[in-house]
């Protein structure tokens, strides 16, 4: 599944990022890398973008970009 499909409050581990263009490059620069843990903190009231916890900070990105991030959910 992708980061865009997580439920609010769910945690997941990043498996891979799709694409090799500058969009993917920017996602990686911000720390969205294989093996990192992400948590979906919220979805904006109008349905987009998302608020994600990544390491020690909060990142907001749109579903279009989040769907490039393949994840496996964590149970806890």
């Amino acid at each position: 599944m992708t980061l865009a499909e997580l439920r609010v409050g769910q945690k997941a581990v990043i498996e891979a990022l799709q694409g090799s263009d500058s969009v993917t490059q920017r996602l990686m620069e911000m720390g969205l890398l294989k093996g990192e843990t992400v948590e979906l903190l919220g979805i904006a009231p109008l349905g987009d973008p998302l608020e994600v916890r990544l390491g020690s900070y909060r990142l907001s990105l749109r579903k279009a970009e989040a769907s490039r991030v393949l994840v496996t959910t964590l149970r806890d």
């Binding site: 009231p45 109008l46 020690s56 970009e65």
Partner: protein, 776 residues
Amino acid sequence: MQNLTAKSGSASAVKEVVIALVGNPNTGKTTLFNALSGLRQRVGNYPGVTVERKVGRFQWGGVSFQLIDLPGTYSLTPRSPDEMVAVDVLLGLQPGEKRPDVILSIADASNLERNLYLTTQLMEVGIPVVLALNMTDLAEAQGRIYDPAKLQERLGIPVVALQAHRGIGLDALRNVLAQTSSPPRAGVHFPEIVEREAQQLAAYLREGLGSARGRETLDPSSARFLALRLFFDQNGYTEKALRNRLGEDLAGMLREARARLDAAGYPVPATEAQLRYAWIKDRLRDCYSEAPRPARDWTDTLDRILTHRVWGMAIFLIIMFLVFQAIFTGAQPLMEGIILAQSFVADFVRNSLPPGPLRGLISDGIIEGVGSVLVFLPQIVILFGFIAILEDCGYMARAAYLMDKIMARCGLSGKSFIPLLSCFACAIPGIMATRVIEDRRDRLATILVAPLMSCSARLPVYVLMTSAFIPTDTWLGPWLPGLVLFCMYLIGLIVAPLVAWLLKRSLLRGETPIFLMELPAYKWPSPGMVVYRMYDRGKAFVVRAGTIILATMIVVWALLYFPVEGTDETGAPINFDLRLAELETTQAELEDQLQDLQTVGDLSLEAAQKMALLEEKVHAIQDEAAHLQGSWKRQSILGRMGRAVEPAVVSLGWDWRIAMAVLASFPAREVVVGTLGVIYDAGSDVDETSPSLQAQLKAARWGPDSPLAGEPVFTVATALSLMVFFALCCQCASTLAVIRRETNSWLWPLFTFAYMTGLAYVGALVVFQTAKLLGC
């Protein structure tokens, strides 16, 4: 300090260490910049781009420092000319700019891993790097206490712990800056094959660029840095910029090199991010200890409310309403004060100088011009006060988060919302506020549509036209004028998104910028920072846009003043300025006599008759003055221009006098009301609610040469056409001056003026012709 370069030759040679300040957004970079350089700052623009060039100076330990503030960024991966500036400055390739001696890399300690990504890139530039570890208090509150000494040892660069907003650690930082002279010992280690490819490409670059530039060759570390950027940034700006200089071979070379890297198991772009983050994690491992974490994170709690579906939106709307109300009405008393002071000074000049071009230039050109610059200051300062508070406390990012979906529909992002909202009060502060938008194309699109929002300067035009010409006796009763006014505001709201959408698909087409935004932890805004932002933006406006506005005002004044000699109603030659001055003196004398009579309090019939006679004379003089002013302005250069364009505007329902008033309102839309007053002989002291002006407009008839001769000029259709024109046009020299300043180019203000005037013309044409068909 072998690295310090002395200005050679002169006996008074001053050593100046150039420091480049670089960091992620939200790291307290501006706070540190101000703390180090105080208010000794100079703001300018880098040529050809929209990036502000900000330089501060300070002295420490007998050394002079020059501090260059580079735009906040998450990486040195240029994707536009604007982002290339930072790279060019750091490599010493920026024309006219000395290469920095030291890079000051500021990082947010509460999120150090991601902040160090940029630092690892800076460490490869080839000049000394100092790490300012800022917000250590916040990191501690979140559970991490860093050991700066250990960090320094592990990273291989000097590290200073800071709390810039409290001024803690600044002296230590200044000492380190004065002593640092050697480039970083080590950095991220790239695999053998990457290094080999980079060395080959670097050699090619040094040869190609060295000969092309005809002066000193690129130093090895700069060449290696550029080579890495060329490998890793597919379709990046570095490649575009260098392809122009090195030829098309470069693209083929890069494609082959990337294929070789990929074959060796190092795909682009993943390799770079993975290697850097792996290095950072490894270095940080034993540099901190865990601190007790509070059970509850304030930011989590606040975010749950402030981004809530119901409460979050409600609070957002309340905050936006407050901001808007403050610029719209809060600035009013200050603006009125400025206008009052301006007319006081202008009167003083009028009374102390003899009539003539000089008096006119000073009182109606320069003082009016200065006043019209200063009058924007309250709105700018208030808006930037709010923006500074919202940004400093972390709410600005939430506002963009909440509004992104709406703005995304027309190709913009949530960051455009507050600038555009501010434009309903005034486009000037709104356009200046677009600096919060990092993406260049998004920012340009926002700037270009900003003047379409119905600002407060349009209101006088709307009010004059609706109250004089929109009937209240239809089946809609008293609601019709209000409805018309509402529609005028709606025009901007409908047209602006359409234009933005079109621009993003035509002129400003390009890769869709992605919306990736950090949501910083909430904190109390620092009052010093808020005051600084208000001062800084106010000054930037007055100094850099003010001159253009002033010049425009003087030009329009001259077009209305000359020729000062013309003919009166009987065809006799007359000097309008002198004749008006005479009338003014006579009127003042008569009014004095009247005053005297009133003070005496003589109640006799004779005295009453005398007073009535005097009053009559005063009225007669006022009428004559109004007529004289009217014919002066009608015979002026601008009046002739109005006649010249009449054929083009007849289809909008305008006669040449309306055309002239519209031309005269180029400096500012609201000027049209006063100009209509003068050329329709209602005198110069009218405003949009004056009954005399409304009566004169209703009485105006088409001239004898027109096929409509004798018909009223102003009908409902004409009024609507004029309102729609003003809703869409860019008759505002100040807006154009600010666009010039913010885009650092004349192209964009010219484009804005042209497209908006075109839109306004077509809009007015359609509305007038439709209304006429409907019999209005």
